[in-house]
């Protein structure tokens, strides 16, 4: 037996087979150019000198012994911090297709060692669950006889939705006649670019999104809006005419709000809305988190903090003692800041308590809607356990809230918006429209936008997911100019436009066979079905098989 001292083994010693991604390297194709090792965001691979022993087996020739070959090769690191994240940038830069990561079909034991130094596993990205209930909802009510199916290509479709508090018709007429305040509303496209902060996203990504949104509104007349997330908003945008396409988010860290408040006198227009974040789907009950890697000079200035420090937001808004009071006072304060001309609504994480929040909002005459972010929502940084195990799926949560509003006859007054996992497997329009028919007035999409508009490498199989440490290999979530210059804002803008044009077409291809064109089919639950009896019962829709 080999003496124990000679085996380099510690509790966290791992082999490539213990990692979620294994590097496959073909030496016969490698030109030793070194691009893969240079581009790898986590230094998972390195060039190493290797020696190969070649035994001489010429029996009888008197030429026994060994000869040695020395060569340079790629070696995969096995320390947990340097585990391959499967981003595949090595394959992207390799001129000879000599290298690529492959998912480990076996047992990735590194999962047990992601807490080195007692620090629980933090990451960015998504929940790592490929299943999607929304993908299973199909549209079953096809118009054929008394109501012919419509022509998606030629017919005229009203696809927009309304954001903001809507009065009951009697109250609207009364207030209009007496000249009283009528809550502000916005007519918007029902797919909204969800909250991703300036800080979580790189400047180039943000610029690309905004360019795309501006083009969609000003040239194509599709009223797409985007939300800022917690990190404030660059002053040049606050004072620009593009602010009307932006939903400004205020969250428990209040980052960036000094700049926003100071910019109010110079604003050329009102923002689309104000979103007050009380929770998010990826990490319910947890505040925002921008890790120190990403707090660059620019971000520090925007947020009013020192450079290079972790920015964990508290889980709740600290200044007030109850959520009812907090919601009421914050909504009124924000409304007042813009002269009651801007819709203000809260964002909460999917939860069994969502209905309680909703019922509170119904009684608040200033609440402009409710956004519920389900468990499949993504984030730039969170504890792994929060992402994987906390929260509530969006479909039943939104449906329950909608039916509750219906029972009160209030479903038109408080628009519900849904988020969390829409388009997680690429079916963005189908997922979004399924939620609309379950009762949502619109949906927020974040991860899908990152994947489709900027080429985010993440997926639901724990690929990449290093948004938190500022090493995004595509430059989407990095504050390092060397990385984010990889992303061309013009190309992102082009992709944003591509995405919304195609969503619009797919919406029509869904609505036309249902015979719907005059309004967004919110709550049209007779049109959908699912192949699971329990889910059908829970969602109060048709079971199909």
């Amino acid at each position: 037996m080999v003496p124990i001292q000679s085996v380099p083994s510690s509790p966290s010693s791992l082999t490539p087979g213990d990692l979620p991604w294994i590097i496959q390297h073909r030496e016969d194709r490698c030109t030793l150019c070194g691009r893969c090792t240079a581009v790898c965001p986590v230094q998972a691979i390195h060039l190493a000198y290797r020696r190969q022993r070649i035994p001489n087996l010429g029996i009888g020739s008197g030429n026994l012994g060994n000869s040695y070959r020395t060569f340079t090769g790629i070696r995969q690191r096995t320390e947990p911090a340097n585990r391959c994240i499967g981003c595949g940038m090595c394959a992207m830069v390799c001129p000879n297709e000599a290298i690529c990561p492959v998912p480990n079909p076996g047992d990735a034991r590194v999962r047990f060692h992601m807490n080195q130094g007692g620090d629980a596993w933090k990451r960015g990205g998504r929940r790592n669950d490929t299943s999607s209930l929304l993908d299973r909802i199909i549209f079953t009510r096809i118009s054929m006889l008394t109501d012919p199916a419509l022509d998606a290509g030629r017919h005229e479709f009203m696809l927009n939705t309304v954001l903001g508090r809507i009065l009951p018709p009697e109250e609207f007429l009364k207030r209009h006649a007496s000249g009283e305040w009528i809550p502000p509303t916005r007519e918007i496209f029902p797919f909204i670019i969800g909250s991703m902060s300036f800080g979580a996203l790189s400047p180039n990504m943000w610029l690309g999104l905004l360019q795309g949104v501006a083009y969609l509104n000003e040239v194509l007349k599709i009223p797409v809006v985007m939300a800022t997330g917690e990190g404030g908003c660059p002053p040049w945008i606050l004072k620009s005419p593009f602010l009307k396409y932006i939903i400004l988010q205020i969250a428990s860290g209040y980052f960036g709000w000094d700049e926003i408040i100071r910019a109010i006198p110079d604003m050329q227009c009102d923002p689309a809305a104000i979103e007050i974040k009380y929770g998010q789907g990826a990490k319910p009950g947890d505040g925002g988190l921008l890790m120190w890697f990403k707090v660059s000079k620019l971000i520090a200035r925007l947020r009013g903090v020192p450079e290079g420090v972790d920015l964990p937001s508290p889980p709740v808004h600290q200044t007030l003692y109850s959520i009812e009071e907090s919601v009421m006072k914050m909504i009124q304060t924000m409304s007042m800041a813009w002269g009651f001309r801007v819709p203000v609504y809260p964002k909460i994480s999917g939860s069994t308590s969502a209905k309680a929040v909703l019922n509170n909002l119904v009684r608040n005459p200033y609440a402009g809607g409710l956004l519920i972010d389900g468990v499949d929502g993504g984030t730039g940084a969170a504890y792994n356990v929060s992402m994987d195990a906390m929260g509530h799926p969006i479909a039943s949560n939104i449906r329950e809230c909608y039916l509750d509003l219906c029972a009160q006859g209030k479903q038109n007054e408080i628009p519900l918006f849904a988020a969390g996992g829409i388009g997680k497997n690429g079916n963005v329009a189908q997922n979004g429209m399924a939620l609309v028919m379950l009762g949502a007035s619109g949906v927020h999409i974040g991860k899908y936008i990152m994947q489709a508009a900027a080429g985010c490498l993440g997926n639901e199989r724990n690929r990449c997911n290093v948004c938190n440490i500022g090493l995004c290999p595509k430059g989407i979530t990095s504050q390092n100019p060397k990385l984010y210059r990889r992303l061309d804002p013009d190309q992102v803008a082009q992709r944003v436009v591509d995405i919304f044009l195609s969503i619009r077409t797919e919406m029509k291809k869904i609505m036309a066979p249902l015979g719907r064109s005059q309004s967004l089919p919110i709550g049209m639950s007779d049109a959908i079905g699912i192949d699971n009896k329990d889910a059908a019962d829970r969602l109060n829709i048709r079971y199909i098989c």
Partner: protein, 380 residues
Amino acid sequence: MCRLALKTAQEAFSPYDILLAMEAMREGYDGSGLGLLLRGVRFTDYSYKEKDPILCGIAHTETALHRLDAFMRDAGFELKYDHEFTTDLAVLEAKDRHKFLARVYRLPDSWGAYTPDRRELEFMRMRLALRQDGEEHGGDLTVFSFWPDVVMIKEVGWPLEVGNALGLQENRILARVVMAQGRQNTNWGINLYACHPFFIQGVATMTNGENTAFVPIRDWLMGTHFPGYIGYQSDSEVFTHILHYTLKQLKLPLEAYKHVITPLKTEELDRHPQGPFLKGLRDACRRLIIDGPNCVMGSLPDETCLLVMDHKKLRPATIGGRPGEWAMASEICGIDAMIPDRERSLDFQPMREHTVIVPPDRKEYQIWSQFNPFPLPQAA
């Protein structure tokens, strides 16, 4: 597809004339039922006073009839006239019809003190109570209307045969307004309550086509918890309830109906003189936007008649006639049958923005466009 016919005239006429018009439109339709609504009613056997309510429906058994009598007696209503239809029940498809009801009652004295609103509410409550009573007893009593000067008949079968079975050809009932619809709602199963026209507190409409936005509209109307917003055996019932909601709850003029069910587009409202008001109204009534193809014909207690299309206008309808006598139909041959010697130059097919209104004087019809300034001071 449903066939719709409506005729309004200064001189009362026989509803059988309208059934003949339905016969003219028979091509390409399944004729599975008949719904009739009459206003400005005259009985040849009885001198009817227009303030007296008429109860219409079907008693399917003698027991149900007794219960009905007891209910009305307890409520203080005195039966003044019981129209005996010259029925030939053997001709009818349905075999559980005991007696078709068109009964005139005298109001209890206590109702004299009621305001008009209270009276309308009580009429509706009585109708709903009778309907519920029938439903609780295995559907042995069906009640279509209980309202002054309104007679309603609904039955399964070919319209002309139903008319013959009820003796309508004898012209013992005449009316100044007749609405007729010729199809049972085959989409949702045969149910007498699913047959058009639908009626609530004097407001009646009938529709052809399918309203694909039915479920969200129904959910919203039921959420108002107004006692009459029930039923919904047919997707078309919501058209009647939306008209009722617009006129009676919101107290808006008839012109607002089209702005509620098919609001103009944002870019059109941006150019409209009352754009901000109409946008607000559109948003507030957003859950009442219909999605056709539909043609809606209706009539109101003052004998005003209306005709509107949905936005897509895939169900054209025509109005034609001459001063004093107008007809609306889903097929032009129906107009030909109802008013053969009309002035054809007055024929009109409304477009998506139009509401055709025939006022009670019936001298001429009005074409109201959604692009016109809205006739309401509060919209200014």
